[in-house]
């Protein structure tokens, strides 16, 4: 059994070149992530005058960074179908949880108060 696995490991040598190019990708992604972090922080000091835009920009950059991590570091670029379907399922339920909860707490009968009010 263990001999077999040694052979399997040895066969990786053929992929050495392949892996070397991977390493280059990893380092590029690393740079991109650091750059993304800097941009997010810089955006904080930009006054968009609208909260929606501020949130949108920050989450957009965060999503790009998350995509880079998931796609390259977690190898989701070339993963098996099973993993994708699993992630799609949990993404759907996550959206349902967040969306329906927010909708549920904000769709209220008329003249009811959902927002906390400030009483000085």
């Amino acid at each position: 059994m263990s001999e077999q696995s040694h052979n399997a490991a040895a066969s990786h040598d053929d992929h050495d070149h392949d892996i070397a190019s991977h390493i280059k990708t990893y380092l590029i992604i690393f740079g991109a992530l650091l750059l993304g972090t800097v941009i997010t922080v810089l955006m904080y000091y930009v006054d968009f005058s609208s909260m929606a835009v501020t949130v949108g920009v920050a989450l957009f950059i965060a999503s790009i960074k998350a995509f880079l991590v998931a796609a390259y570091f977690m190898h989701l670029m070339s993963e098996k179908k099973l993993v994708y379907s699993l992630l799609v399922i949990s993404a759907i339920f996550f959206t349902g949880l967040m969306g329906l909860t927010l909708w549920g707490t904000h769709d209220t009968p008329k003249n009811t108060l959902m927002k906390t009010v400030y009483v000085p």
Binding site: S2, F93, G96, L100, W103, T105, D107, P109
Partner: protein
């Protein structure tokens, strides 16, 4: 990932020598990684909790029927154990009644039914039915049981904390849950939350293990559509647990913060308790707790019922000597139920001041989910048609599951509709409805499963006469207990009055009150009806009739192709599935059943 270590050890030894030396007591029964031992561990622990939960409700029922009278025998003991402000004169105080109610719900749902369906039957049967040597991660499996056990101990210990155990219902609604005992931050509610975090962790470990096992360890030839329906039910159930439990874990942590650190996740601004303003910052949302709780709570209902349907399907197919009718549509229905169960949760919350749009949305999805449920039930009913049914204890329980679950499901429809729910909410009607699903429903399936798989687990048959006696008593008393609750509910009796409604109903509607007496007597009868089962269970382990073959029921699925009881590693030789799971009475076959493992 840890699980694979055993593998590495095996390499060091010569050949496969793991059967050579007999493991000691602890490694064999306490720290075993064998899925069958863990299944039995789960089974024993959850049956004990089941019994305990039943005792709690017996005390409550006695008080409901006889408000003001001391509870016989245990009343004095309760007073001694929990103090005279909790059980004055052998009565349950309002607080203690609430505690018992909360713990009855918690214990039954999280410590008894889920573990027995998912932990016990799931663990024991699933790997056998898919032809696997064990679960994919045996040590994770062991950890799952141990974490469950710790959770159970924490829950049990909370009875003896100063101020008593949790008493805000099994739903633990905030702000009530955070303000019941302000003087004592580390109160029963906090224990409850810590216990829940353990139980949730256990379920998560279990569900990861189940899904990985079913995906990865199916034996050769065991394609998805050749899996027994029980395995499908476990598969969908595991997904429900995997994805629905984490939000409750998050909510539990938030409530723990509210209780321990005085934060205000679920506490609104300007909260007044007993006439004094509460010294918290406020700004939280009580609705958030309910949303996160019911996001688990509703899928949990299907966690309680899907494996039960799985058991019933196995027993029915075997005892009608016919293939399940519409196996594929049952599988797809189960998947639809699983999917839809994630988007129906707020039908538990119609009374929280929901807008009409969102209420309509949840009412629509609720009606949609009843369609696949009805398909499953109908398919099972049609499966009976034209079969030569064997009436043994297992099949009697499975057969009576069908109408009982039908009643439970159909009485749920008025609760799924917004308009009728507003009238029925929080009344005894609700109690009747969900107990019909879980008590005569799920519990009957559990009993069917015990009678059916007992010979595989122990190598001995259970006594049929005692089994039938158990069935008759249970069926009769279950209905006498839960059917009158619908009437009480229609009469508007609230489910939360510790004196059984005497305060409100005396002189108004005596029938609602007199039903209390009848229900209590029948509840005691239900307890007595379990005696044949308990006697049967223990005596059969030692003196039951020994099985004459590995397949005493002439069944087709793979668990019957193992030695009895199955050894560590399960199968004597690598099993192969050559056909579908329910090849009964195939025309031209040499017997009326063709096992999955039989070569064509």
């Amino acid at each position: 990932m840890q699980a694979t270590d055993t593998h590495a050890h095996a390499h060091g030894q010569k050949g496969h020598s793991h059967d050579h030396h007999e493991p000691g007591f602890f490694s064999k029964y306490i720290f075993s990684t064998d899925h069958k031992v863990i299944g039995v561990q789960y089974g024993v622990a959850s049956l004990i909790f089941l019994f305990f939960g039943f005792l709690l409700v017996l005390a409550m029922r006695f008080q409901l029927a006889n408000p003001g009278k001391p509870i016989p025998v245990v009343g004095a003991l309760l007073e001694k154990l929990l103090g005279s402000d909790m059980a004055p004169g052998g009565n349950l105080s309002g607080d203690l009644y609430n505690s018992f109610g909360a713990m009855h719900g918690t214990i039954m749902v999280f410590l008894a039914i889920v573990p027995i369906l998912f932990g016990a039957f799931g663990n024991y049967v699933t790997p056998l039915q898919i032809g696997a040597p064990d679960m994919a991660f045996p040590r994770l499996n062991m950890a799952s049981f141990h974490v469950y056990f710790i959770g159970g101990v924490v829950m049990f210990a909370s009875f003896f904390t100063p101020g008593g155990t949790a008493r805000s219902g099994w739903t633990s609604y905030s702000p009530l849950a955070s303000v019941t005992d302000l003087a004592n931050r580390f109160d029963g509610q906090t224990y409850w939350l810590i216990g829940m975090v353990f139980l949730i962790t256990s379920s998560l470990l279990g569900s990861v293990n189940f899904i990985a096992t079913i995906i990865q360890l199916r034996c050769r030839g065991m394609s998805w559509m050749r899996m027994p329906f029980f395995v499908w039910a476990q598969f969908v159930t595991a997904f429900l647990l995997l994805l629905a439990f984490p939000p409750l874990e998050a909510a539990g942590l938030m409530q723990l913060m509210d209780n321990l650190f005085g934060s205000s996740f679920f506490l609104p601004q300007g909260l007044v308790v007993n006439g004094t303003a509460l010294a918290v910052s406020g700004g939280g949302s009580p609705l958030l707790w309910q949303h996160l709780f019911w996001f688990l709570g509703h899928p949990e209902v299907y966690v309680l019922i899907l494996p039960a349907i799985g058991i019933v399907s196995e027993v029915i197919a075997n005892n009608t000597r016919k293939p399940l009718w519409g196996y594929k549509s049952m599988v797809y229905s189960t998947m639809s139920v699983g999917f839809l169960s994630f988007i129906v949760w707020a039908h538990h919350m119609y009374l929280t001041g929901m807008g009409t749009k969102i209420a309509t949305f949840f009412q629509t999805t609720t009606m949609m989910i009843s369609i696949p449920s009805v398909i499953i039930l109908t398919a099972l009913f049609i499966s009976l048609w034209g079969g030569s049914i064997r009436f043994n204890a297992a099949s009697l329980f499975a057969l009576s599951f069908l109408p009982m679950f039908g009643i439970g499901g159909l009485t749920g429809l008025p609760l799924g509709f917004n308009a009728s729910d507003i009238y029925l909410h929080d009344s005894y009607y609700v109690i009747g409805h969900f107990h019909y699903v879980v008590a005569p429903g799920t519990m009957f399936a559990v009993f069917a499963g015990i009678y059916y798989w007992f010979p595989k687990i122990t190598g001995r048959m259970m006594n049929e006469t005692l089994g039938k006696l158990h069935w008759a008593g249970s069926l009769f008393f279950m209905n006498c207990v839960f059917a009158p609750m619908f009437i009480q509910g229609f009469k508007g009796m609230s489910r939360r009055m510790y004196d059984g409604g005497t305060t409100y109903f005396e002189g108004v509607d005596p029938t609602a009150l007199s039903l209390n007496k009848m229900i209590t007597m029948c509840a005691v009868g239900l307890g007595v009806a379990q005696l044949p089962f308990i006697i049967n269970f223990f005596s059969s382990i030692f003196v039951g009739k020994k099985v004459s073959s590995d397949n005493p029921w002439d069944a087709t699925t793979l668990e019957w192709a193992t030695p009895t009881p199955p050894p560590h590693g399960n199968f004597a030789s690598e099993p192969v599935a050559y056909r579908g799971p329910y090849e009964y009475s195939v025309p031209g076959a040499k017997s009326d059943f063709t096992p999955q493992s039989e070569k064509p």
